[in-house]
């Protein structure tokens, strides 16, 4: 299903003159380019201007493969118990947080006692896909939309850019043109260019709080959230991906969750699959639990 979409988008990108620049080479046995996590830093001498109104490219956290992992919680507010990272929970939000048993963060539980929906390969939804193992992420665009391909679990998402309205959130779903529509893991996203190098997207209509988490430390998110993402193209090789959430059901005020610098990678880079497989997850748990029982421990 995705392949025809991508093929048409690649064609549109080429036709619209949005040339995809080939960047520095990395090992490519047989022509299969391997991700390059050791790019030289961008300097004044190597910095090139960004193309106008384009996010096209294969992007990855500029800080390396671990910079977008976010195991300790969203980048801007790691869940480490420090007062400056305390969140403005509503009473309901606080109650929700306490009901989540996460493996990471200040209130982490031990393995086997957690209830992270990630562990059963449930879709993480928006915005958690932005907060979970963000590594090589591909952006395609045409005159109607921008499409993000997340590496984790081989997921993709559409942000419409053709001027359509953001749906109205109502209990249990959204209204589009007066018609009631379902909630979605990726919600409904629309975006626009606020200047030639800054794209802002908003997402509503996401899944309810019993299906999704905000991050790996069990912070909650509800179906009343409005997610605002800002993609700022700093130069040809740098994109800063920021996000703010406004979820009055869970948080008493909007707050910024991340500001992640991304580095452009060679668009020909081949990515291995990075799926969540229930059977492999089960095998992992079996091995881990076998060790946890102390088999062979000294």
């Amino acid at each position: 299903m995705l392949r025809p979409l991508l093929a048409s988008m690649v064609g549109l990108v080429a036709a619209s003159g949005l040339a995809v620049e080939i960047v520095a080479q990395s090992p490519a046995p047989g022509g299969w380019l391997v991700p390059d996590w050791n790019k030289p830093p961008i300097t004044d001498a190597t910095r090139k201007p960004a193309p106008r109104r384009s996010l096209v490219g294969m992007w990855a956290p500029a800080g390396g493969p671990g910079a977008g992992t976010q195991a300790s919680g969203v980048l801007a507010k790691p869940n480490n118990g420090r007062p400056e990272n305390a969140l403005p929970y509503t009473p309901y939000g606080q109650e929700l947080y306490k009901s989540h048993r996460a493996l990471e963060g200040a209130d982490a539980v031990v393995a086997g006692q957690d209830n992270d929906p990630r562990n059963t390969c449930e879709p993480l939804g928006v915005p958690r896909y932005n907060h979970y193992n963000v590594r090589l992420t591909q952006f395609f665009q045409d005159e109607h939309k921008i499409v993000l391909l997340y590496h984790y679990d081989n997921r993709w998402r559409v942000i419409w850019t053709d001027g359509r309205e953001l749906p109205t959130v109502v209990d249990g779903g959204v209204l589009i043109g007066g018609e009631f529509r379902e909630q979605r893991f990726f919600g409904y996203s629309v975006g626009r260019w606020v200047d030639d190098y800054t794209f802002v997207a908003q997402t509503v209509g996401t899944m309810p709080e019993d299906r999704v988490w905000l991050d790996s430390t069990g912070r909650p998110i509800s179906d009343k959230v409005r997610v605002t993402e800002t993609f700022r193209r700093v130069d040809s090789d740098t994109l800063v991906w920021s996000e703010t959430i406004d979820d009055p059901k869970v948080y008493s005020q909007p707050w910024e969750t991340m500001r992640l610098p991304m580095r452009l990678h060679d668009p020909r880079t081949d990515l291995m699959e990075y799926y969540c497989s229930p059977s492999e997850q089960e095998n992992y748990n079996r091995i881990f639990e076998g060790t946890a029982k102390g088999k062979g421990a000294q």
Partner: protein, 135 residues
């Protein structure tokens, strides 16, 4: 914890490697900063999501075999650093530097491995040139 003849505690061994936090158990379970060098026989290499496992048999002080599990990240994450599905073969003797669990269980997070031919592989993000050295 008894550390076997083939297990050398490598404190401040000049290793400046670091590992990104793992996902499916708490990162706090690991004794971050502690480095343990395990030398043992490969029993199994599981190249699979969500994390890869290297099962090695290491002898303790009494000469008894201890089954260690050395974990690293998903194949797609460690592939650029040189780890492949056939990197480790059963019966081979390898040296693995891990961050062990705090509680003494024989489980650790891989920081570096040395293969029988002398090739050294690092963590995700290690330069491929440094990961595939000539013996």
């Amino acid at each position: 914890m008894t550390i076997g003849r083939l297990v050398v505690l490598a404190v401040a061994a000049g290793l400046s490697l670091s590992a990104a936090p793992s996902a499916h158990h708490s990162s706090s379970a690991f004794d971050t900063g502690k480095k343990l060098v395990l030398k043992g026989v490969v029993k199994q290499w599981i190249y699979s999501n969500p994390h890869c496992f290297l099962m090695i048999e290491v002898k303790n002080d009494a000469g008894e075999p201890v089954q260690w599990v050395a974990e690293t990240q998903a194949p797609s994450v460690i592939f650029p650093a040189g780890y492949r599905r056939d990197t480790f073969k059963p019966g081979e003797v390898v040296s693995v530097t891990v961050e062990p669990f705090k509680d003494g269980r024989p489980f650790g997070r891989i920081l570096q491995t040395q293969l029988p031919d002398g090739t050294t592989l690092g963590v995700a993000g290690s330069p491929p040139a440094a990961s595939v050295q000539a013996p």
